[in-house]
Symmetry: C3
Subunit: 251 residues, 3 copies
């Protein structure tokens, strides 16, 4: 049985699964599909379309067991796998397709036409320009900016590509079209102007390669390498995923 | 005929033109003037005043054919020309005066007492300190910070001045009182501590001049210069504006 | 007598003092304690708990004479002294304990388990990671990032420590566990990777010590030192506080 707060406006054309919760003062438009056990916080608007939107006839599809926290905005024309979890005030424009277990932090904005793999974790206040491609198990820390126009303003739009298991640390800026390789680490505050090879660390403005990620030690006194992080960090991932990491030694 | 959502609170002292739309859960206070065909999304509060506000008897004036997207906040005591377009969660404090065709991206904050020329485009999550002066046709990309106190905290307040056609790229920081010259380009991640001459490019932290903007090529394989951008980019500008650029060769 | 807007939902289990104001479309949950003369703007949600929150039985306590501006979110399990003042869209997670006269700017996010002293001023869009410790009379300018995981992702969490009277300027990034000493100044755009001694200025990426704070002059033509700022700046502080600064020569 669904719980719709009496102050919410939910279109009769929206499709709701079982056990859906919609909080106070929400607006759910036509063409929204919420799978079973999706929970939506207060003041959210789902299925937005508008004058600059080509998505008015397209679905917004949210997978089962998802949690969308308050004040978030999702446009029509995007789809998310099961177990999406968002912070507050998230904005997702049209045309984004994300896999399972996607976490999006408070105030993060995804500008549209992006692809996001499985179990990706975006923290707070990240900006993801149109046409960005994000692999699986990627981590993006607060205030990272993923750009797409190499000479603004122009009609050239080249999204960044962030490969599996990469970590983009707080406040880093990734220039248009940059490829960040698998298991690479972009340090806090880095301004990345060249492609980043797999398994290296880059830092600085402009960012330069500072060494191999595997040479960074965990700061817990254990004398273990911090990267690949899959060897020591598993919080929140499904057992099957972690078992695979262990089989492959997390690489 | 106006469309006011039944859940919205609109003061009887507000002045509404023809064809105005007010979305769900909006609050429109006294002294708000919305010209014809202004559309306001959900959860917006217009005409805010408060204990720190000197603007309680002043108007908030929004020009015709404007679109204010959801969760935005405009204080009393500011005015905007026709065709204002905002993203979501915009905040504009009192005392700002902006020209025609102003675009303000999602989560951008304008702190008040600013002047903004015609056809200025602010993208997402920009911070504009009090007393900033922005010319015409300026572009500001995501997460740019325009500061105003040279030795915080102090009672000295020196706003930045951004001249016509300048481009401030993503994540750049402009220090108090800096003048960025016409057609100049501030690169992504630059921390600008000295005035920027017209038509140059600056980059780095601290930012240094790296050359002439005209020497940067478009990344579309066309062998054309990217700057002045008015020679190749006209999306969304009125025909009369573009015709003037062509006459003057865009400079 | 309290003024609760008719559209607000206020739990009968919440505790409200005298002269409390609750704005339109607010949600006030159980276990919220608002002292006398607390004013809450529109669209605020107070006392949030959730699946990732350990605070469901804990109080959210807001001191007397506080102003919480619109669209703000406070979780259960935090407490604030008298005269809290926030901008719009502030987010405070559980487990934070703050003193008197705390100011939090628009869109700032405090992730929880933080301690904040008396008369601290956070400006707009600041990110404060879990377990940060902030002293008294600290200033944090817009878009500062206070991090806590030295090798993300990991289970190591080392909050930053910002000592009394320190100033963190716009867009600076403080790496995990960094201690910024009393009366120190972190320049705009600095990426701070090492502890900052008391009374020095650091700048750059990575940040380096550039000299003594006392050698920076006010930009008002007065030939006075800008730091310690307590010698020339007192706006908004109680008379008793300012008298103490004068007695101790502001140090």
């Amino acid at each position: 049985m669904n719980q719709i707060h009496p102050s919410a406006y939910v279109s009769s054309n929206a499709t709701l699964g079982e056990g859906v919760e919609i909080g106070p003062f929400c607006v759910v438009h036509d063409n929204v599909v919420l799978a079973d056990r999706v929970s939506v916080g207060a003041y959210c608007e789902l299925g937005v379309t508008g004058p600059n939107s080509a998505s008015s006839n397209q679905l917004l599809s949210i997978g089962a067991d998802s949690l969308i926290r308050s004040h978030s905005i999702f446009y029509a024309g995007s789809s998310f796998g099961e177990s999406l979890t968002t912070g507050h005030r998230v904005t997702v424009r049209e045309g984004t397709k994300a896999g399972k277990g996607f976490q999006i932090g408070t105030s993060t904005e995804i500008q549209g036409d992006c692809t996001v793999g499985d179990y990706v974790r975006f923290q707070s206040n990240i900006f993801v320009g149109k046409s960005t491609e994000i692999g699986n198990y990627v981590w993006v820390l607060p205030y990272v900016i993923l750009t797409n126009d190499p000479t603004p303003p122009s009609n050239v739009l080249i999204g960044c590509i962030i490969e599996d298991y990469a970590t983009l640390c707080a406040g880093s800026i990734i220039l248009p079209g940059i490829v960040v390789g698998t298991h690479a680490v972009v340090a806090a505050g880095a301004c990345v102007t060249k492609n980043v090879e797999a398994r290296v660390v880059v830092a600085g403005n402009p960012a330069r390669t500072r060494g191999e990620a595997k040479d960074i030690m965990l700061r817990d006194g254990s004398a273990r390498a911090a990267y690949p992080w899959t060897r020591h960090f598993s919080r929140g991932y499904p057992d099957t995923v972690v078992a695979n990491w262990e089989k492959s030694k997390g690489e």
